[in-house]
Amino acid sequence: MFPSPLGSVQQLYIGLFDTGILRVALFESLERIGIGFLLALLIGGLLGVLLGVSKLADETLGSLVIALQSVPSIVWLPIALILFQGGGGAILFVVVLGATWPMTMNMRMGMKNVQPILMRAAKTMGYSGSELVWRVMIPAAIPNVLTGARLAWAFGWRALMAAELIGRGGLGRTLMDARDFYNMDLVVSIMIIIAVIGLLVEYFIFSKIERRVLSRWGLSTAS
């Protein structure tokens, strides 16, 4: 019952070019992960800034976020269904819940990690409040933000796969169907798709940005 490499590739081919179920599911999932990821970056970024900047927010809102984020996607799902009346929004909600947290925490630490002297310098130049955040703290936090984005991407996928159980298509659903009918080759071929997309995003987005950031920050020679 162990999946075979050949069988997986075959299933991949069939799913993409013959029956097309993988192709259709892929596009559905891509749309969701795309929107969910961007939303997570946005929300997580804002939340992280808030928690990093305001001690009060960190101690109140921060605790709430901490308390809620250990809760698994499968528990969120019914809640999301109620909140969103079963619409596609429910899936997005769960994806965002999964992906936001790493972004939030990394942005938060990025805020706290800014060298105090840079903040002081900017303040003497008349920067304050949101401008300080926007022009100094966020740029300084970019290396952390990158890690946050990478994690958001991975955990967004994980949450998406769980959320797509609700039966509105997508790779997650196909994955579960394949598992339920013991088509392990198809399971593996979906894992291959996710992995390949992950690698593409890594090579064409994350690592490119990272290399540029690290070299500009003067950190690339660190090791």
């Binding site: 299933q11 029956t19 179920i21 019914p78 009346q85 079963g86 159980l165 609700i166």
Partner: protein, 318 residues
Amino acid sequence: GSDEEGDSAGAAGSGDAVEIGYFPNLDHAAGIVGKEKGYFEEEMAADVDFLNFPNGNDFIEALDTGVIDMGYVGPGPAINYYLAGGDIVVIGAAANGATLIVSREDSGIETLEDFSGKSFCTPGNGCTHNVQLEMMLKDKGMETNRLGGEVEHQSRVNPASMVSMFEQGQIDAAAAPEPWGTLLVEEHNANVVTEWNDVFLGEELASVVVVTTNEFLEENPEEVESALRAHKRAVDYTAENEEDTLETVNDLLYSLTQTRLPENVLEEAWTRMEVTTETHGEALQDWADASYELEFMDDDPDLDGFVDTEILDGITSE
């Protein structure tokens, strides 16, 4: 929901369509045939949309939140939901039977008596099949470890995983739904410990029921009736066209999972269930009582009002 949740249906992307849920599985053949042959579209005035679900829980959640209006589901989740105060009503049956007790080839289990000191698995904790097997064990004076007994029970083993657990010798037996029980027997040399019709409540107990919410039923009695007409047509079709039914089910499986169940397995499994509209309400009550007896439930179950086959009875007696 329909009227006041009209926009929820809209959010689901299909305007005022009636959403029908089902599982891509053999005992849902009636629903699958009805969908594939277009019976529902033909009979119903409103548009119809079909959503398939991987398990009862997700189905019930969808029903609870108004994602679907009616559909095919196992009786276990429906009863549990009903007893928890949920708005659900059984308006007919789709299949009865379909539970097989099997044991691993060299597990040493030939009869129920051999279960002592062995392990078995079921798809869910307190699911239909679980209650059936445990009830039979109880008759033989055995209990599971859940109640401090001598039989080890592992729940939440998804039917497909049973195959690998059997292969690896991790588990000795299973109370399996069809077609998985048959698959284990045909492809993995499992022993049949108890045939489907000898199982507790055996032929009587529904394996798939047709449900809707009271709310939907009251607001759309005509649509429900039309749907049941389509259902009836589908059931009749399956009875007369076994080969085509099996092919339709297998095609659907392929379109979802790119895999087909072996034909001999499907054929064999088909004999272990009865696709019918006949709803045995008392069997459902008996099952719930057994579940209570086995301490899966905290309160004495009362299924009054859970089953309402009036419309379907009207259609079948036409």
